[in-house]
C-alpha cells in the first residue's frame, strides 16, 4: 500500500495507534505545562483501552486526573479551564457518551468564541471513540461524528493511521478551538510507521492514502483500512482505486476530494456513521457539487445501516461497510 504521507526523511518506528496517541499526549504534556488530561480511569488504569498507560507515572495525578463518572461535568470543567488559559484534554471513554456532553460541547465550547465577538477562546481537546464490531451493543458502538460536525465552532478529527493519530492529536491540542478527536476503538492495535521527528500534520488537509485512476474512494477513520483492502481486491480485477482520507470533517479539505473525483470520474464515500443525514451524505454532496461535470456516474454512499448497533455478531457484522462491500460498489461504478 503506497502512501505519500508515509514517505519520511527521518527515522521511523512501528507504533500501534494506541502508542501513537500516548506519545502525542506525552510530548504535548512535556512541552506545555497548561496541558492536562481529565477523564474517567485515565490515570492508573490508563483507560479501559490502555491507551494512556504510563502517563500518570510520568506526569503525576495533578495532570492526569481521574474524574467521577460525570461526562458533562468534566467537559464543562474543561471548557472553563480552556477559557482561562489551560489546554485540557478531556477523555470521553465511549463516543456514545457524547449524548451526555452535548450542551457543554454544542452550546458552550462551540459558541463561546463567536458569542464573545472573538474575545474568548476555548482550546479544548475532547478525545472520544467510535466504531462497531466490538460486540459492545447499541450504547457502546456508535459513530456519532456527524452530530458534532454539524455544530459550527467545533473542529472534528478522524485519524486513520498511527502517524496521523499522533500528528493530528498534537495539532488538536495546540489549536485554539475546541476539537473533537475521535478514535476508532478497533484501530488501537493497528500498527504503522511513525516518524521519529516532529510531525506536522495540520487540521483540514486530506491525505491520499493510495493513488489510482479509475475510482475515488473517500473513506474516514477505520473505513480507510476497509477502502485500502478493497483497493487491493480491485487491483486484481484491473481497477485502479484512489483512496482519499479527509482526516478531519471540520475543517474539510473539499478541494482534495473534488480534485480526486474530477480525475477518476467516479466516487464512493465510505463512513461508519449512520447513512441518513450522516457524514457520508455531506462528503457525497460536496463531491457532487464540486465535480458534477466530471462524474461518469452518481456518487455512491456506504455507511452504517440506519439501525441501532445490534449485539449478536451475525447481525452486527452487516451493520457497517466491509472491504467486500466497498469493492463491490466500485466494480458496479466501473461497470465491471
Amino acid at each position: 500500500m503506497s502512501s505519500p504521507s508515509a514517505l519520511v526523511s527521518a527515522g521511523t518506528r512501528t507504533l500501534s495507534f494506541a502508542q501513537a496517541i500516548n506519545e502525542a499526549l506525552a510530548e504535548e504534556l512535556r512541552r506545555d505545562p497548561t496541558v492536562f488530561v481529565l477523564g474517567e480511569d485515565v490515570a492508573e488504569a490508563g483507560t479501559p483501552f490502555k491507551v494512556l498507560s504510563g502517563l500518570v507515572e510520568e506526569f503525576g495525578p495533578e495532570r492526569i486526573i481521574d474524574s467521577p463518572i460525570s461526562e458533562a461535568g468534566i467537559t464543562g470543567l474543561g471548557v472553563g479551564a480552556a477559557m482561562t488559559g489551560m489546554r485540557p484534554v478531556v477523555d470521553i471513554m465511549f463516543g456514545d457518551f457524547l449524548t451526555l456532553v452535548m450542551d457543554q460541547l454544542a452550546n458552550q465550547a462551540a459558541k463561546t468564541h463567536y458569542m464573545s465577538g472573538g474575545k474568548l477562546k476555548v482550546p479544548l481537546t475532547l478525545r472520544t471513540t467510535m466504531g462497531a464490531t466490538r460486540r459492545s451493543a447499541a450504547q457502546h458502538s456508535q459513530s456519532l461524528h456527524a452530530w458534532v460536525a454539524h455544530v459550527p465552532g467545533l473542529k472534528v478529527v478522524l485519524p486513520s493511521t498511527p502517524a496521523d493519530a499522533k500528528g493530528l492529536l498534537k495539532a488538536a491540542i495546540r489549536d485554539d478551538n475546541p476539537v473533537v478527536f475521535i478514535e476508532d476503538k478497533m484501530d488501537y492495535a493497528v500498527k504503522g510507521e511513525v516518524s521519529d521527528g516532529e510531525l506536522d500534520i495540520p487540521l483540514g488537509v486530506a491525505d491520499v492514502k493510495r493513488v489510482g485512476d479509475d475510482v475515488t474512494i473517500v473513506a474516514t477513520s477505520s473505513m480507510v483500512r476497509a477502502a485500502l483492502e478493497a483497493a487491493e481486491q480491485l487491483a486484481a480485477d484491473g481497477i485502479s482505486a484512489e483512496v482519499v482520507d479527509p482526516r478531519s470533517l471540520v475543517p474539510l479539505d473539499v478541494g482534495a476530494l473534488v480534485r480526486s473525483a474530477q480525475k477518476t470520474g467516479r466516487a464512493i464515500v465510505v463512513d461508519e456513521g449512520h447513512r441518513a443525514y450522516g457524514a457520508s451524505a455531506e462528503l457525497a454532496a460536496v463531491i457532487a457539487e464540486g465535480a458534477f461535470w466530471s462524474l461518469e456516474v452518481p456518487v455512491r454512499r456506504l455507511a452504517a445501516l440506519d439501525v441501532p448497533i445490534p449485539f449478536s455478531p451475525p447481525l452486527e457484522d452487516v451493520t457497517v461497510p466491509t472491504p467486500e462491500l466497498v469493492a463491490q460498489a466500485a466494480r458496479e461504478l466501473c461497470g465491471k
Binding site: S70, A72, G76, G80, T84, D103, Q108, Y114, K119
Partner: protein, 328 residues
C-alpha cells in the same frame, strides 16, 4: 468569623460605592425595558431589577482578576464586575461597539478584561465553566476565585451537581451563588424543588449559607467571608441569596397574575427594596444625607443617559462580519 462583625466593617466609602452601583444597575435596566417597550431593541431581555444587592454585594468582594459566570438575567453581574454601560447597551442593540460586536446580545455579554466569562442562556450551563476557571485558578496559584451566579431554577439541571462534586473533591476556589428569586420562569420554585436547597451543596460537604439578598451589606459580608476562604485554599462554597425579581421572567412577561399576586410584588417593592434598605441605613448611620444619595442618583442617571446615547448612535456590524469569529 462573625457575620455581624464583618457587616459592621462596611464603611461609608464602600457602602456609598455599593449604593452607586446598585443605582446604576437599576437605571440601566429601566432603560433596557424602555428600549423594549419602544421597539428599539431586537428580541427580549431579562431584567435584574430587585436583585441588585446580590450582584453588587458579591462582586464588591472580588478582585478584578477574579472570574464570574453569569446568566440570562446577567446585566447586573456584568455592571457589578465593572463593565461599561455604553458597550453593554450597544450589545443589547446588536451594535458593533457592543462587548461581543453584536453577536451575543443581552443573554451572552462577556467582558473578559474584567473577568466576566459570559452570561449564559442555559440556566445551569455555566457551572462547568466557573468550576473550570476555579481549576485554572488553583493551578496558577495567584489566589484567584471564580464565582458562578445562577438562579434557583438551575438547581433542576444535573451539571450543577456534577461540578459541585468535583469542586469539593479537589477543593477548588469557586463560590456558587444561587439567586433565589422564587420563580423558575413562571413556576414557584417550591413546586419544582424537593427537599431543602441548602441540603444539596451540603451533601457534597460544601460550606453553604443563606443570606438576605436584599441587604447588600449582608450579601457582601457572607461573600467576602466565603471568597476569602476560597482564596486561602478553603475550597468551594455555596450561597443562597433570597431575592425577588420585580419584573417578569422577561420584559414581555407583563401579565403575571396567573403565577404570582400583585400584592406580593408590591410588598417586595415597598418593604424589601435593596436600594431603599441601604439608603435608609446610610442616613440612619449618618453616613450620607438624602441629598448625597440624590446626587449619586443624578450622576448615575447622567452616566446611563450618555451610555444610551452612545449605543443608539453606534453602527450595526457590516453583514460581512457574520462569518468572522466562528473559529479562533
Amino acid at each position: 468569623m462573625s457575620t455581624t462583625a464583618e457587616r459592621s466593617a462596611v464603611g461609608a466609602e464602600l457602602a456609598l460605592e455599593m449604593y452607586r452601583r446598585m443605582t446604576l444597575i437599576r437605571l440601566f435596566e429601566e432603560q433596557a425595558n424602555e428600549l423594549y417597550r419602544t421597539a428599539k431593541m431586537p428580541g427580549l431581555t431579562h431584567l435584574y431589577i430587585g436583585e441588585e444587592a446580590v450582584a453588587v454585594g458579591v462582586c464588591s468582594a472580588l478582585r478584578r482578576d477574579d472570574w464570574i459566570t453569569s446568566t440570562h438575567r446577567g446585566h447586573g453581574h456584568c455592571l457589578a464586575k465593572g463593565a461599561e454601560p455604553g458597550r453593554m447597551f450597544a450589545e443589547l442593540l446588536g451594535k458593533e461597539a457592543g462587548y461581543c460586536r453584536g453577536k451575543g446580545g443581552s443573554m451572552h455579554i462577556a467582558d473578559h478584561e474584567n473577568g466576566n466569562l459570559g452570561a449564559n442562556a442555559i440556566v445551569g450551563g455555566s457551572a462547568g465553566i466557573a468550576t473550570g476557571a476555579a481549576f485554572t485558578a488553583k493551578r496558577r496559584g495567584r489566589g484567584q476565585v471564580a464565582v458562578c451566579f445562577f438562579g434557583e431554577g438551575a438547581l433542576g439541571q444535573g451539571l450543577v451537581y456534577e461540578v459541585m462534586n468535583m469542586a469539593a473533591l479537589w477543593a477548588l476556589p469557586v463560590v456558587y451563588v444561587c439567586e433565589n428569586n422564587l420563580y423558575n420562569e413562571y413556576t414557584h420554585y417550591l413546586e419544582a424543588t424537593a427537599g431543602e436547597l441548602l441540603a444539596r451543596p451540603r451533601a457534597f460537604g460544601i460550606e453553604a449559607r443563606e443570606v438576605d439578598g436584599q441587604d447588600v451589606r449582608a450579601v457582601y459580608a457572607e461573600a467576602s467571608d466565603l471568597v476569602e476562604r476560597a482564596r486561602a485554599g478553603g475550597g468551594p462554597a455555596f450561597i443562597v441569596a433570597n431575592t425577588y425579581r420585580y419584573h417578569g421572567h422577561h420584559v414581555g412577561d407583563v401579565d403575571r397574575a396567573y403565577y404570582r399576586a400583585k400584592e406580593e410584588e408590591e410588598l417586595w417593592r415597598s418593604e424589601r427594596d435593596p436600594l431603599a434598605l441601604l439608603g435608609t441605613w446610610l442616613e440612619a448611620q449618618q453616613l450620607a444625607a438624602a441629598a448625597d444619595l440624590r446626587r449619586l442618583e443624578d450622576d448615575a442617571r447622567g452616566e446611563i443617559e450618555r451610555a444610551l446615547a452612545f449605543a443608539l448612535d453606534a453602527s450595526f456590524p457590516d453583514p460581512s462580519q457574520v462569518t468572522e469569529d466562528v473559529f479562533a
